[in-house]
Symmetry: C2
Subunit: 265 residues, 2 copies
């Protein structure tokens, strides 16, 4: 990156407490020429101290993307810490202002939330048309379903969101050209839910016990893979990928941020 834009994009990762650090992000950084700054604070760090750390990342011109690892210790107000991240560096894209800009026509969000962005990217890379297609998103979480629906909407799909209060969801999915699911219910979407030729993106991951598997369990998606194979024209699944593409999207957001801050966009 240094050659093309004259500076090194920087990703700051803030990790508080004893939970496992999702190593993949900053390990990948080195490979793509992004500098990573990892700060690890002890479990008993005060909220004030944590906010100071976020604030120093906000002010640091070498940092273009900030990632606060979740969950935070329970004595902290998660919203407060996350809202303290400067919107220009909030590469996760979950800030309400960013979500509002994503929802509005004619406005541009600072960042696209990584997992929905990865899904759309996968559809594009596989030359799957989105414009004018019926798309169904199963699940309406703030971190995936809702932003995924907004993104599909921006791509001119006709979008329906299915959720826990939806009656007869299979009647709706059966009309969809594209189904994106992220609820974490093993094998929920059966073959009979799918229109022949539809494209499925399965982001849901859960584990089920399996005595024959190496560790006594195995990962499964929301889609009943065996049945869907017979009906769908393509199935894109997160199971087994270990979130590599999402991690790429986060690094790509860091690069976008660096370019924007240094007027390369």
């Amino acid at each position: 990156q240094q050659e093309s834009i004259g500076m090194v994009p920087g990703l700051a990762v803030l990790h508080v407490g004893d939970t496992k650090l999702s190593k993949s992000y900053w390990v990948s950084c080195g490979f793509v020429g992004i500098r990573s700054f990892v700060v690890h604070l002890a479990e008993d760090t005060t909220e004030e101290k944590t906010l100071e750390c976020v604030s120093s990342f906000n002010d640091d011109p070498c940092v273009h993307g900030i990632l606060v690892e979740l969950p935070l210790p329970t004595h902290m107000d998660e919203h407060k810490i996350l809202n303290a991240v400067s919107i220009e560096k909030d590469i996760k894209g979950f800030h309400p202002l960013n979500i509002g800009l994503l929802a509005m026509r004619g406005r541009e969000p600072f960042f696209l939330p990584q997992t929905p962005k990865a899904c759309i990217e996968l559809l594009h890379r596989n030359n799957i048309e989105i414009k004018g297609k019926r798309a169904v998103v199963i699940g309406r979480s703030n971190t995936f379903g809702m932003p995924a629906a907004l993104l599909l909407q921006r791509e001119d799909a006709t979008v329906t969101i299915i959720h826990s209060k939806t009656k007869n969801p299979q009647d709706i999915t059966r009309q969809a050209d594209i189904i994106i699911s992220a609820v974490g219910k093993p094998n929920m979407v059966r073959g009979s839910w799918i229109k022949p030729g539809a494209v499925i993106v399965d982001v849901g991951i859960s584990y089920v016990r399996d005595r024959n598997a190496r560790y006594g369990f195995r990962w499964v998606g929301d889609i009943c893979y065996e049945e869907a194979c017979e009906v769908a024209s393509a199935i894109i699944t997160d199971v087994g990928s270990e979130g590599l593409l999402e991690s790429d999207m986060l690094l790509s957001n860091t690069l976008t941020s660096a370019k924007r801050i240094h007027n390369f966009l």
Copy 2:
């Protein structure tokens, strides 16, 4: 209002230039005990001067709601002026941060945009259940369709947004328990588009020439009223109402704001 919360809610209206002022808002103010402050600036006022006026409303403790009349003169940056309105007093609810909060589960917007709010209010007042129902919103404008869809979603409907790129929209509307339309295409939604017993809210308004009408034209909605009457169980239309309920919602937002600012919520 003075008796119940000990102060008078204030609505400031900023009107720049020669376009017609939508009088109904501040005329209604007097009836419901809201104080109105109307500032009229000349067409050739500078952007800077206009921003100063917005800023003085932001700082004024007697003002709880701010309304910038649109359109502004063309030499001004509309986004810039609207974004200058303090989010706590932006009763129209169109600020991207407010829209983001509206889209997110577990978050609360400062204000509900008035026309979508009026629609939901009308459904509630007519005891029409929304939860678990199939709802279709026709049109995806920032000012109506998009926030209406988000509001229906918050009420646990299963929502589909139909727009100009949607193929065979009638196949989708025909499945809907609730249809809300706001596109401004006269008589677009025909009887055959409607499921028997569905509830229709028609917010679209356009005018068509009619030699027999008093002024040579008449107002019509998006719904072909004559045909819809035969199929739908209820039709709520804006035509002829002169936006009275929307105006009420704006005043209700001003009151909400005053209560919030003075800790009555």
